[in-house]
């Protein structure tokens, strides 16, 4: 196994492509319907506000990415600023956000793919199978060569930005009639902020530039430029797309839970051919997002592993392909697990939850570093300091209140899991292992006692036939032997 340093090989263009590849991805295709359900005709305003809010924290990313151009993005910044618990927490939030973002891309791929498949061949319920296959294919491609898939990603991003521009231009030529007074119950005022929170995810992919800072040439110059360029391009594109979409299609049609809003709008503007092109663009966008997510996930996981929060074997790279194959497979398992929930709103909301908390911590890191390391070379500085990062923190925390409740609960649960991992790190892996060895030994002892009870004919609180009782007896014996021996191996391990 090799543990080599990644070479700096990406210029400004590729850095912008990383940002756009992460952000101009599947989100615009799959989040627009629920956001329209929440905001109604004010969806364009929602996206504009969302872009501005994102830019607040992206400026912090610019300063930090240029000053600390290391693998790990915001995790590296929090580590330099605070170290310890807050650094771990930042990395953990980033990881959660990325994994749920990838699950969203897998689901988006499935929904768009099934547009072309008659439901009697693959029922829509089997979209999860399609999502799983997409994750597996992209993971394998990434293991084979990250460099190859990134180059492919840049071409793809350019291609579907072109598609979006054609879509907007064709919409304008088609003749737009913005229906601000559209008779609808959609978009009550209380849901406006909820829509901003939900669509926040559309801009998050730009962080990929900062996270991949270690492979960008002249990071002091290229990272800030790439982030600002990506942010402005995204705002223009998204607002244009949303404006065209709500102008040509009824809001109720867009807001339907399983609708593909861009495909519906393209069908209205360009006919069936337009719908097919936009659906293919959706498929490609999903694959591109998935590919970027895998790259960023591996970067974050390796950062956490390098610092001992996750096992060291995750740092390994494949001998032949020089790619972090174990991390890629590890992440892909989680993408599939979360995609299996099958609910876009839910998956998207959890990703937004973790991202917002991560954003707050990035701004906090910036402020801490300004005090802690005032002489750190900063090729780019956030304008209007300290108001910009303070505004970034406040807005992130306010938006958190509007996260979908189920997603909020799961987010809290995942934070608890993160705290457990941190506790393991603090207490020491070896001690935890001995503790679990002891518990396993205890379970083995208890199972032996149960087997004794079953074997000697004591009443079992289950209605079992004699044959089943015999099977249960042997199964309990087997489990007790395994648990006792596994417990002993864990206790006598060398750590």
């Amino acid at each position: 196994m090799n543990k080599s340093k990644t070479p700096r090989e990406l210029g400004l263009f590729q850095a912008v492509m990383i940002g756009l590849g992460g952000a101009v991805g599947i989100e615009i295709f799959v989040l627009l319907n629920y956001a329209t359900y929440l905001a109604g005709p004010r969806i364009v305003l929602v996206l504009f506000v969302c872009g501005i809010i994102n830019l607040l924290t992206m400026l912090s990313f610019c300063e930090l990415g240029a000053a600390i151009p290391e693998v790990g993005g915001e995790y590296s910044y929090a580590k330099a600023a605070f170290g310890g618990f807050l650094a771990f927490l930042t990395g953990w939030f980033r990881w959660i956000s990325n994994v749920f973002g990838a699950a969203l891309a897998a689901l988006g791929f499935a929904y768009h793919f099934l547009y072309f498949v008659p439901t009697n061949i693959i029922p829509v319920d089997e979209s999860l199978l399609v999502a799983l296959v997409a994750v597996a294919i992209i993971a394998v491609l990434t293991v084979l060569s990250i460099r190859g898939t990134m180059q492919m990603g840049a071409i793809i991003v350019i291609a579907f930005i072109a598609v979006f521009l054609v879509f907007i231009a064709a919409g304008i030529l088609h003749g737009l009639e913005l229906k601000l007074s559209y008779p609808t119950t959609l978009g009550e005022s209380s849901n406006f902020v909820a829509a901003v929170t939900y669509t926040f995810l559309m801009f998050l992919g730009m962080r990929a530039i900062a996270a991949g800072g270690a492979v960008v040439k002249k990071p002091g110059k290229n990272i800030p430029r790439a982030i600002i360029l990506s942010a402005v391009l995204l705002m223009v594109l998204y607002c244009g797309i949303a404006y065209v979409t709500i102008s040509v299609v009824s809001l109720e049609e867009i807001a339907a839970p399983t609708a593909l809003p861009l495909s519906i709008a393209a069908k209205e503007i360009l006919g069936e051919a337009g719908a097919i092109i936009l659906t293919i663009a959706g498929i490609v966008a999903a694959l591109s997002s998935l590919s970027t997510a895998i790259m960023v996930q591996s970067s974050i996981t390796r950062g956490l592993s390098r610092d001992g929060y996750l096992p060291k074997f995750l740092l390994s790279t494949h001998r032949r392909f020089k790619t972090p194959h174990i991390v890629i497979i590890f992440g892909s398992i989680f993408y599939i697990l979360f995609a299996a929930t099958g609910v876009v709103e839910f998956v998207g909301s959890v990703a937004a939850f973790a991202s917002l908390l991560g954003f707050a911590l990035v701004n906090l890191s910036l402020m801490k570093l300004r005090v802690k390391k005032p002489y750190l070379p900063r090729p780019f500085k956030v304008p209007l300091y300290p108001y910009t990062p303070i505004a970034g923190i406040l807005v992130s925390l306010i938006l958190l209140i509007f996260i979908e409740p189920r997603a909020f609960s799961l987010g809290i649960g995942l934070i608890a899991l993160g705290l457990l991992a941190y506790y393991v790190k603090m207490v020491g892996y070896h001690r935890i292992r001995i503790a679990f060895g002891g518990v396993s030994l205890g379970i083995g002892g208890f199972t032996t006692f149960l087997a004794y009870r079953v074997g000697t004919g004591f009443t079992v609180p289950l209605a079992l036939s004699p044959q089943l009782t015999t099977i249960l007896f042997y199964f309990l014996i087997f489990v007790s032997i395994i648990s006792i021996l596994a417990g002993i191996f864990n206790i006598v391990s060398k750590g």
């Binding site: 074997f313 518990v439 596994a486 191996f489």
Partner: protein, 81 residues
């Protein structure tokens, strides 16, 4: 070293499988798949206790197995692939 690798892998994987089976059984019990509660005559009020026991057992087995599998991966890292 080879024997140790084999043994920790065997016990680790077996524990993982046992833990996963316990959680799958909890799922089957909760949703009463194949009328399992009726067939085993488990009263509804006892289901939560069974679920708790199965989840705790499954969770501990999976973690204990994970530690052994991790040891195997580390041994592999030391020996080279």
């Amino acid at each position: 070293m080879k024997i140790r690798k084999f043994v920790v892998t065997f016990f680790g994987v077996t524990q993982e499988v046992i833990g996963a089976l316990a959680i799958v059984f909890a799922y089957v019990l909760y949703y009463n798949i194949l009328d399992i509660r009726i067939n085993l005559e488990i009263p509804l009020e006892h289901v939560s206790v069974y679920l708790l026991l199965l989840f705790v057992f499954g969770f501990i087995s999976i973690l204990s197995g994970f530690f052994l599998i991790r040891e195997r991966l580390e041994l592999e890292g030391e020996g080279g692939l």
